[in-house]
Symmetry: C2
Subunit: 392 residues, 2 copies
Amino acid sequence: MTFTAIAPKTTLDETYRLKLQPLEMPERLLMGAGPSNADPRVIAAMDRQPIGHLDPEYLRLMDEVQKLLRYAWQTHNFMTYPVPGTGSAAMEATLANTVEPGDVVLVAVKGYFGKRLVDMAHRYGGDVRTIEADWGSVFSLPELREAIAAHRPKVLAMVHAETSTGVLQPMEGIGDLCREFDCLLILDTVTSLGCVPIFLDDWKIDLAYSCSQKGLSCPPGISPFSMSDRAIEKLDQRTTPVANWYLDNSLLRKYWGGERTYHHTAPVNMTYGLREALRLLAEEGLEARWQRHQSNAIKLWAGLEELGLECMVPVEFRLPTLTSVKVPDGIDAKAFQLHLLREHNIEIGVGLGVLAGKIWRIGIMGANSYAEKVDRLLAVLAESLAQGVGRK
Amino acid sequence: MTFTAIAPKTTLDETYRLKLQPLEMPERLLMGAGPSNADPRVIAAMDRQPIGHLDPEYLRLMDEVQKLLRYAWQTHNFMTYPVPGTGSAAMEATLANTVEPGDVVLVAVKGYFGKRLVDMAHRYGGDVRTIEADWGSVFSLPELREAIAAHRPKVLAMVHAETSTGVLQPMEGIGDLCREFDCLLILDTVTSLGCVPIFLDDWKIDLAYSCSQKGLSCPPGISPFSMSDRAIEKLDQRTTPVANWYLDNSLLRKYWGGERTYHHTAPVNMTYGLREALRLLAEEGLEARWQRHQSNAIKLWAGLEELGLECMVPVEFRLPTLTSVKVPDGIDAKAFQLHLLREHNIEIGVGLGVLAGKIWRIGIMGANSYAEKVDRLLAVLAESLAQGVGRK
């Protein structure tokens, strides 16, 4: 047998041939806006060899993940599956599949992630309109009705749990409003899934997305997505192809549906992790999970109050998963955050956009929503404030 | 403190609350078209808690991964980083960032993944032209010159190692041709990176992409991407925004570049794995790695010949990483494949598209490119053929 040499004709460049030590990472308590810590059982589930993305054993796993995701979201949507990317990919998937050039898209913006929806909707040729509210507030049903009546959108996109502000948007009546005006409803549940009540079907949500690394306590890299039959109908009536191959549900449903046609090589180990994360959720049960997040949030808020710290969001709209805390006058938010990270191995978040420097964001989610972790954070906050950390 | 109840007003639907056992997966020897097995050191590196995607320790890790990827591809491209998705996302990133509506895009199609490039280029509004060759053959330089001269494309996209056929495209002279005609060159190195010589800079490749789960021996879910300054120049001169938020390099480079601006929540544990995979590559060295893949491929081919099996691709264009083997007359390719999977825990691939039923695809990549694994496969092939497995 002859074999034409594949040996290089060029000298190798060794500039970037780093000689590195084995990976070492500090053990952080992740109490920022995400990622949150993974449950040890999830990490353990990922600790094995991948198998093929069309292996019958993997197809069985896909079925399980789809079903458990339906439980988590309280939906019967067949097209409920994880997108092979991080939360923003799942966000983009909702718009990519529904927006055709020229479609009026109304985005309700009350924080950073509302603005991201606007940016994405533009990229798919949407005729994008916005209704805006102060960062830290919510939309009322009459405000939304007025905006929908004025713009007559084909799609309304909004955020359930705004990660940038810590606000929980009440959803009662919004789905009905969208049906009345024949409009699809997209909901961002990135910081609510697995922690805060969500009823996708009862609320008449047409498309929803989330992430793995917050309430579900799985590392980031795979992201829940759900699409109603009503949304699929609009997809099927498109006259233009979905302007995104990777996130095109008309291709993805052949892989996640009965045909099992190859689309992409699935993120196999991330799917192992997500299955375990969802299994943990099903074991605990949604009601117990919601209750746990509620009581640990109340514990946090009481503790913050004792320290003389003020929450930005009124208690009736406050997210149990993510609390925005006003930075006291005279303290450098970022320096204080870095101190917690470096001296105490605790990560908290800082403000985004207009809230930069003004708030800290404290996430108590999933595997971190336990009294002892809240206590640990409160003790470190108390100590650092007393020491005058970050004082300008 | 008062707290408005977040308790559900709706009864929980328990339909999909599955009660599952802990995850169990068979230990497969993955010798198909990918994923290939991960190196145990890679899996071990992933087996830890995530940290924040803006943590200083994580930013350091990002730097290391970028540099090691430059070594792997032999490039000095600053914008060399992993895309937070699987290989097809990195493929789409090359086109999304370079193609503006109306741009002539020439795709050299000689297999399934060339066709995928055509599909994607259409979605970005490209005026897509193709030059086609039989599946299993390569393009000659004169053929490419003729096509470029005829179509005058802004972008030429082609596949280095066609995973659907097992062909290695000779790259000598193609980069110069593209410079001569002022055209960007995109190269698919999904099945060549880390296994077969690639010299991105010497070959004057403007954009390249790959995957983690083949030659790099990391699970799927994160995918190398590189973009030259010449390609960035075209990006900077765009008059339309990149029609894909998640893969927009003008946003991503603020995260991977000096600014470290938040874009998406990185797939942290996958990045741990990729760092270890690249560290393994740097330890072994590219030349030794290439040599190992070449000698184990030769071993496989000799063994197949002894069994009376015929390779589809002439030896001078045959990929060392992926070998397409003609299915002998009278054997059901799929039934034979399933037998290997179920009875021997070995995965091999079947043909895609026009090659369905006609070939098997045998991948000997990364952590599987060792003599004892080739021997194990050959022994199982010999036994199964002798038993008449899959005979129609």
